[in-house]
């Protein structure tokens, strides 16, 4: 009985009419042919030496060897913080929902992480030392997750409430570790490269474009004409310009706008351009959130005696940002992808490093392998961000399913 019903379902799904059946057959044939060719190339023709030989370059650029321990330290701290945060998120579900400590998603994620940690070093042919470090870091992440989930509730509530402050602290500490200062020797931004540079640029721009975008959105909706016009001018100017022209502008004109032709390092110039660029788009996303707000909210808050800034922070913005969240994360994903444009102005983030590597005569013609790896890397990061956004949306959704 069961087998025939699933067979019937398959038939209905794929062969409902003659045309449907034809489409299915054609598509399947094309998929099989394409898949076979791809697999053949992947297994037999592709030469991954280009990636393996340059893995450090792709990962951290030309960061000095003797200072790389700082990056390892940062990775360890990030792994620990992520594990603990993840664990506590699960250990303290929202009061109106049931939750398990290790839902299916988490088990899948843990399996994927463990799998990656085991397979990547093999694929990249990393040295034994480095492979072990990565195994250790992944194990630390999962251990912290387990510990926080199991033993977290025993810790005092104040500690848990204060925990989110670890992230800005960690970010500042991370930048210090990467760049130098506070007694550590300075590593010039020109030596940052690869994935490290991509993440620095993206994270800087994402963090700063968010408050700037919120301010612009509030200005756009303000009743004060000057604020409104300034916001509109800024947003429409940025939205009308291709990012590459703005990056170009940042590289060439910033020096002219500051006294004595002084201009900060190219890395920071690009980071600021990315920030100002993304802020305009984030502003539009937040604005749609503000527009979606029921009109009496601000009034009700003010009628209760809340001053304007409290009403904004506790009533208006939390609701507006919840609505704007998907669009905002979409902008953050775009920002991550837009870091590739930095390769066109001479910075060596992932794509720039790839182009430089392929200019090496030893690796001529290995474009396909490199671009494929980069594509997979970007796809995974962007898809992960998308998944994270949907999870965040679900958690913040104040219209839960009826009990």
């Amino acid at each position: 009985m069961e087998r025939s019903s699933s067979l019937q379902r398959l038939r209905a799904a794929l062969f409902a009419s003659r045309l449907d059946g034809l489409i299915t057959v054609v598509l399947l044939a094309a998929l099989l042919a394409g898949g076979q060719a791809l697999l053949h190339w992947l297994v037999f023709k592709a030469q991954w030496a280009v990636i393996q030989a340059n893995s450090t370059l792709f990962a951290i650029g030309r960061y000095p060897l003797d200072q790389q321990w700082r990056l390892w330290l940062l990775s360890v701290l990030l792994a620990a913080a992520t594990g603990v945060s993840w664990g506590w998120l699960r250990a303290f579900p929202r009061p109106d929902r049931r939750a398990r400590l290790w839902p299916a998603n988490d088990r899948l994620a843990a399996a994927v992480l463990a799998g990656l940690a085991l397979l990547l070093p093999l694929f990249l042919e990393l040295s034994a030392v480095i492979s072990q470090r990565w195994w250790g870091i992944t194990a630390l992440l999962l251990a912290c997750r387990w510990w926080a989930g199991r033993l977290g509730p025993a810790l005092p509530a104040a500690f848990r409430r204060g925990w989110p402050v670890i992230w800005p602290l960690l970010y500042l500490l991370g930048m210090t570790l990467i760049a130098g200062g506070l007694g550590l020797p300075v590593v010039s931004p020109s030596r940052w490269g690869g994935l490290l540079l991509t993440l620095i640029e993206a994270s800087f721009a994402i963090l700063l474009c968010f408050p700037l975008g919120v301010l612009l959105a509030l200005g756009r909706r303000s009743r004060l004409p000057l604020l409104r016009w300034l916001s509109v001018l800024y947003i429409e100017f940025i939205r009308g310009a291709p990012l590459i022209t703005l990056l170009f502008l940042g590289q060439n004109i910033l020096g002219l706008l500051l006294p004595g032709g002084f201009s900060p390092d190219r890395v920071w110039r690009a980071a600021w351009v990315l920030t100002f660029f993304a802020a305009a788009y984030v502003a539009e996303a937040v604005r749609s959130g503000l527009v979606a707000l029921p009109p009496g909210q601000m009034e009700a808050a003010r009628a209760l005696g809340l001053p304007v800034h409290q009403a904004m922070l506790k009533v208006v913005l939390p609701q507006a940002l919840r609505v704007a969240l998907p669009a905002m994360v979409g902008q953050f994903i775009n920002l991550l992808q837009d870091t590739t444009l930095l390769s066109l102005i001479g910075l060596f983030e992932l794509l720039g490093t790839a182009r430089a590597v392929m200019a090496n005569p030893a690796f001529l013609g290995k474009d396909a392998e490199v671009y494929l790896v980069l594509a997979v890397l970007f796809w995974c990061c962007c898809a992960a961000l998308g998944l994270g956004s949907r999870a965040l949306e679900t958690r913040l959704n104040s219209n839960p399913q009826p009990a």
Binding site: R302, G305, S398
Partner: protein, 247 residues
């Protein structure tokens, strides 16, 4: 009635909308402690606009408003002080959907009166008990019916311990079967001696609870009288006209 008992004193209140429309034309009203003043009138008469001037949600261009001895001025500090003492219940409830019912109640006392969360929560739960929705304390407004939401809104205002409560057509947005539960809460509140100004169409409520009923039309006070006189022997033609329309 001494001056100490004068909760709201509105003198010659004038208001023009930006498009030039003269919404309030020299309105006078005295509201004494413990009174329930019901304001009625056709739509566009300015009754909602009038009570919204008491807590500066609408600003005025002429006249004066004094709330429990505090004169309403352009000083933001003065306005915030008055808003702390004046509670308002809106037609559309205006609960904060992203906070639970309990959080809705505790937000203002904690942030504005700077009280301790634990104390406020106890009082809030007691208030929810009074309006008969204690068990919904940890639900979100979206999970409640209209009548429940409005009762939460009333409790939210009460949590600030106001001296006067303003009601702007509190039952107009409710399905008929829920109107009664809200009116009962308001009735209880009146019995306990709260000073209330209520804009409503509910004649039975006015007859049972009001100390005075006011008719407003075209931005002016037409008639003001105790409910028995207002409904059975109105003095003005406009009042008779209005009463015949809502009968």
């Amino acid at each position: 009635m001494t001056d100490r008992d004068l909760m709201i004193e509105a003198r010659g209140v004038e208001k023009w909308y930006p498009n030039g429309y003269h919404a309030l034309r020299g309105v006078d009203l005295n509201v004494y402690r413990g009174e329930v003043v019901v304001i009625m009138g056709p739509s566009g008469s300015g009754k909602s606009t009038f009570i919204r001037t008491f807590n500066a949600l609408e600003d005025i261009q002429g006249g004066s408003i004094v709330v429990d001895g505090m004169t309403l001025s352009d000083d933001v500090r003065n306005i915030d002080a008055i808003r702390r003492e004046v509670g308002m219940v809106f037609q559309q409830f205006n609960l904060f959907p992203h906070l639970t019912v309990l959080e809705n109640l505790c937000l203002a006392p904690v942030l504005v009166r700077k009280r301790k969360k634990v104390e406020v929560e106890q009082e809030a739960l007691a208030l929810l008990e009074r309006v008969n929705i204690r068990e919904q304390a940890h639900k979100y407004p979206g999970q409640l019916s209209g009548g429940q939401q409005q009762r939460v809104a009333i409790a939210r205002s009460l949590c600030m311990e106001p001296r006067v409560m303003l009601f702007d057509e509190p039952t107009s947005a409710l399905d008929p079967e829920m109107v009664q539960e809200v009116l009962e809460v308001m009735q209880e509140l009146a019995r306990e001696g709260m000073t209330m100004v209520v804009v409503t169409h509910e004649v039975r409520f006015a007859r049972q609870v009001a100390s005075r009923v006011v008719l407003m039309a075209e931005g002016e006070v037409v008639e003001m009288a105790p409910p028995e006189q207002f409904f059975t022997a109105p003095q003005h033609e406009r009042t008779r006209q209005f009463l015949s329309q809502i009968a």
